[in-house]
């Protein structure tokens, strides 16, 4: 990207570069990991090989079932990142559509949609998820993505709605309407592209939040289901071993902090770059 658009402005900040570099590294590890690391489910020796400290063979040690912590961490990265990206994409899509409809249609539709959003927002997201996820005997990964996505669009829809309502009175939109453009065309050709800026920023910051949220749910046993490794689940398991084998606790925690930090650095740079005040 060249020029002086908001995205290249964002890219020029050191924070964004560091964040992107970290994310790239993480993605690379997640992709290449399975080819160089041991099977994350393998239990070579549950008696003598459990809770081993980091060594050349196991760079991050082993857990209480003698599984390789690094292999599980990398395997967990694939799942955590995939869940986060898909869930946020879903949330943004729903949020944008609802916001667009409510903001542009106005009247009854708007009132009804926004009352529903208010009601759902009155229950904290974690709580809403606890209720939703309890509805499954065993939560498949796709359901987890859908549930996290389905509870993440509320705030976005409000932002988009506000943006659309603001844009709807702008001369270029009024002009398009005067020239006979239909509501669908106005919504998608004129309103949507201009309302996307804030959506992108909240999406980036949302990814960080969702990684934390998924880790928390897995920690409570409601997220990614074993034997699939997830960072939150690894922390849950590590509670039993954190004193005998601190690496089992520190590794997944550090992975979460670094990943969320990287995502937020990028999101932060984007937000500053697209802020109208700058």
């Amino acid at each position: 990207m060249t020029g002086s658009g908001p995205y290249s402005r964002a890219w020029r900040t050191p924070g964004a570069r560091a964040g992107l570099a970290l994310l790239l590294l993480l993605a690379l590890a997640a992709i290449a990991g399975p080819f160089v690391l041991p099977d994350p489910a393998a239990q070579p020796d549950v008696l003598a090989g459990a809770n081993l400290p980091p060594s050349a063979v196991h760079p991050l040690g082993t857990d209480q079932l003698s599984r390789d912590v690094l292999a599980r961490l990398v395997s967990g990265a694939r799942i955590s990142l995939a869940v986060a990206l898909l869930a946020v994409a879903l949330a943004m899509t729903i949020g944008t559509l609802v916001g667009l409809v409510a903001g542009y249609a106005g009247g009854w539709t708007d009132a009804l949609l926004m009352r529903l959003v208010d009601a759902a927002l009155a229950i904290p997201r974690l709580f809403l998820l606890l209720l939703l996820l309890a509805a499954w005997e065993r939560i498949p990964l796709w359901a987890l993505v859908v549930m996290i996505g389905a509870t993440g669009w509320l705030a976005t829809s409000r932002v988009v709605r506000a943006e659309v309502r603001r844009l709807a009175t702008e001369p270029f939109v009024l002009g398009a309407a005067a020239l006979g453009a239909g509501p669908g065309r106005i919504a998608f050709r004129h309103l949507l592209p201009n309302a996307l800026g804030p959506v992108l920023v909240s999406a980036t910051l949302g990814v960080g939040n969702v990684i934390l949220l998924e880790a928390g749910l897995s920690f409570l046993g409601l997220g990614v289901q074993p034997p699939l490794p997830s960072w939150g689940g690894m922390i849950f398991d590590a509670r039993e071993t954190m004193h005998a084998a601190p690496w089992t606790m520190l590794a997944p925690g550090a992975a979460i902090v670094v990943t969320v930090l990287a995502v937020n650095l990028v999101g932060e740079a984007l937000r500053r770059a697209t802020e109208p005040g700058r």
């Binding site: 489910a41 393998a42 239990q43 549950v46 008696l47 459990a50 809770n51 209480q64 079932l65 309890a134 005997e137 065993r138 046993g221 289901q225 074993p226 034997p227 509670r239 039993e240 071993t241 004193h243 005998a244 084998a245």
Partner: protein, 559 residues
């Protein structure tokens, strides 16, 4: 039951000059100086209704056992047949009138905590309540052999049984400790749980009720001048901490004095040893962990068809043979668990009667599977037969870490054989509902057994096949049923019948019996005489005392 140490210490004190006494280690000064003492016992659940007939397990039972004495206590041998394994408690003595009648004479010194004497009518009222199905719940079935309970005067109770059997005495004294009739009789049985009595119980035990903060603690205090002796520790607190890790942290930091079930995870044992002020005490427990085979086809809503895979005893035996149970149990429980050879926990005296199982043999397991027609025809690493792959769902309740860890090991150990196990970790209530529906191939169950081996009929008899919370795997072998009946009801030594029944169960392979653990307690080393009992862990607590040299500030508080 008075202390025997005092005279010795007195003699020494007379002989030694005071200056030397002052140099003695704190322990020998203990006899002269005592502190009121306190104990904080950390428990996992709230003791909601610590009252007989309303509780059977967990913290409620622990508290109930401090408040309410039984007619007699079960001795360390855990022998439940006859009366030779029992010692007097509320009953001073007992005798047998005929083969179906037992007579108990109550100790005249026994008092309720409100001062009223314990009388025969208390025993009659309590047992009568517990015997009626509508009010006794589970106890009604445990006491179903009791035909009549009568008071003869104020101190004598006569219990009549429907027939002669080995565990008459056990049934009469163990299940339900007496409650005070003058307080309980006016309360309708169905509202007992919500009554003031259940919230602030009045018992006759060595400790009395002080207060409770729901979800946080229950506090008891020693009854001074109790007829069995005043407890050496005056304040007793059961501290409720639902989270296992927080529980252990509390113990290690010294804010708690004792805790049940500190291991697994075995890593905890190292921490307890490293802490220096705690010791680990394994106590035989009624816990039994097993992976149950479903004998019925979960796809058949009537559960009438046999299971398409597990209906074949060869497959069941193959899975048992293939697994290195010892290894899994050591990895999860460390040294403190036995690998059971049948549905027998450490509390059952019959556990040693079962024949030793054949050793782990994956080659034999493969042969058995091949005999049953399972082969990997498509080369995907999973055996198949007539187009159906050998995939089994294993339901595991999420709250149980040992079961989760063992399930993952089972999955790994069976994979090389071409048996694919899908571990399904389910929330506790969901898991329970599913297993009661019979909707599983393999189910990771765990039972907590009473000391009586008669309990075998709950989960392993034809009569209970398909009953919720009982024999959900629908195992049924009439020969086992009749052997168990012989063991229970014939006169003479029941051991040979038990031996035969256990051998048959092993051959039928209705489940993979995985672990019969001891409960590992951690107790602060500042207590003297800190013994724990298998039938009721804290029941000897009244004999504990605090080493005065190691007393904490909270040990000196008196009310």
């Amino acid at each position: 039951m008075s202390r025997t140490r005092a005279p010795l210490a007195c003699a020494r004190r007379l002989l030694l000059p005071a200056a030397i006494v002052a140099l003695l280690p704190a322990g020998s000064l203990a006899a002269q100086r005592t502190v009121p003492g306190s104990a904080v016992i950390i428990v996992g659940q709230d003791p909601v209704t610590p009252v007989p007939t309303l509780t059977r397990l967990g913290a409620s039972l622990d508290v109930s056992n401090q408040l309410f004495l039984r007619l007699a206590r079960l001795g360390p041998g855990l022998r439940t047949w006859g009366d030779s394994g029992f010692a007097p408690e509320l009953a001073r003595r007992w005798s047998r009138r005929d083969s179906v009648t037992l007579v108990f004479d109550l100790d005249s010194r026994a008092r309720w905590h409100d001062g009223r004497p314990v009388v025969a009518n208390d025993v009659v009222t309590t047992l009568d309540r517990a015997r009626i199905p509508a009010t006794g719940g589970r106890y009604a079935s445990l006491l179903s052999e009791i035909a009549d309970v009568r008071a003869e005067g104020n101190r004598r109770v006569v219990v009549t049984f429907r027939r002669r059997y080995a565990e008459q005495f056990y049934d009469a004294v163990f299940h339900v400790p007496p409650m005070p009739a003058h307080l309980v009789a006016p309360i309708p049985a169905e509202s007992l749980a919500a009554s003031r009595f259940a919230r602030e119980p009045v018992g006759n035990g060595p400790y009395r009720w002080v207060r409770s903060v729901p979800g946080q603690l229950v506090e008891l205090e020693a009854v001074r001048g109790h007829f069995l002796g005043t407890a050496g520790i005056l304040r007793l607190v059961f501290r409720v901490v639902p989270d296992a890790d927080a529980r252990l942290n509390l113990l290690l930091s010294g804010d708690g004095d004792a805790q049940e079930a500190v291991s697994p995870p075995v890593a905890n044992l190292e921490r307890i040893r490293a802490a220096g002020h705690l010791r680990e005490v394994p106590v035989a427990s009624g816990m039994l962990g097993y992976i149950l085979f479903n004998h019925a086809d979960p796809a058949d809503s009537a559960r009438a068809r046999p299971h398409p895979v597990l209906g074949d005893v060869r497959v069941r035996r193959a899975l048992v043979r293939a697994l290195d149970r010892e290894r899994m149990v050591r990895a999860v429980f460390g040294p403190y668990a036995a690998v059971p050879e049948g549905p027998t926990s450490q509390l059952w005296w019959i556990r040693s009667l079962a024949p030793a199982a054949a050793p782990v043999d994956t080659a034999a397991a493969r042969r058995l599977l091949a005999e049953a027609g399972w082969r990997d025809t498509d080369g995907d690493g999973v055996l198949d037969r007539a187009g159906r792959p050998l995939v089994l769902r294993l339901g595991v309740p999420a709250p149980s870490a040992p079961r989760r860890l063992i399930a993952l090991q089972v999955q790994e150990q069976l994979r090389p054989l071409g048996v694919q196990v899908d571990v399904q970790v389910l929330e506790g209530s969901v898991w329970q509902e599913r297993r009661n529906r019979g909707d599983f191939d393999l189910d990771f169950g765990a039972a907590v057994q009473d000391p009586s081996p008669s309990g075998i009929v709950n989960s392993w008899s034809c009569a209970n096949a398909g009953r919720p919370d009982a024999n959900v795997g629908r195992y049924c072998d009439p020969a086992v049923d009749s052997l168990v009946a012989l063991a229970r009801f014939s006169s003479g030594d029941p051991a040979p019948y038990w031996r035969e029944a256990l051998a048959r169960i092993q051959a039928d392979a209705p489940a993979i019996f995985l672990y019969a653990p001891a409960t590992v307690f951690a107790v602060s080393t500042r207590y003297r005489d800190a013994t724990l009992r298998a039938d009721s862990p804290w029941a000897d607590l009244r004999r504990w005392s605090v080493d005065p040299g190691r007393a904490l500030p909270r040990d000196r508080v008196t009310r």
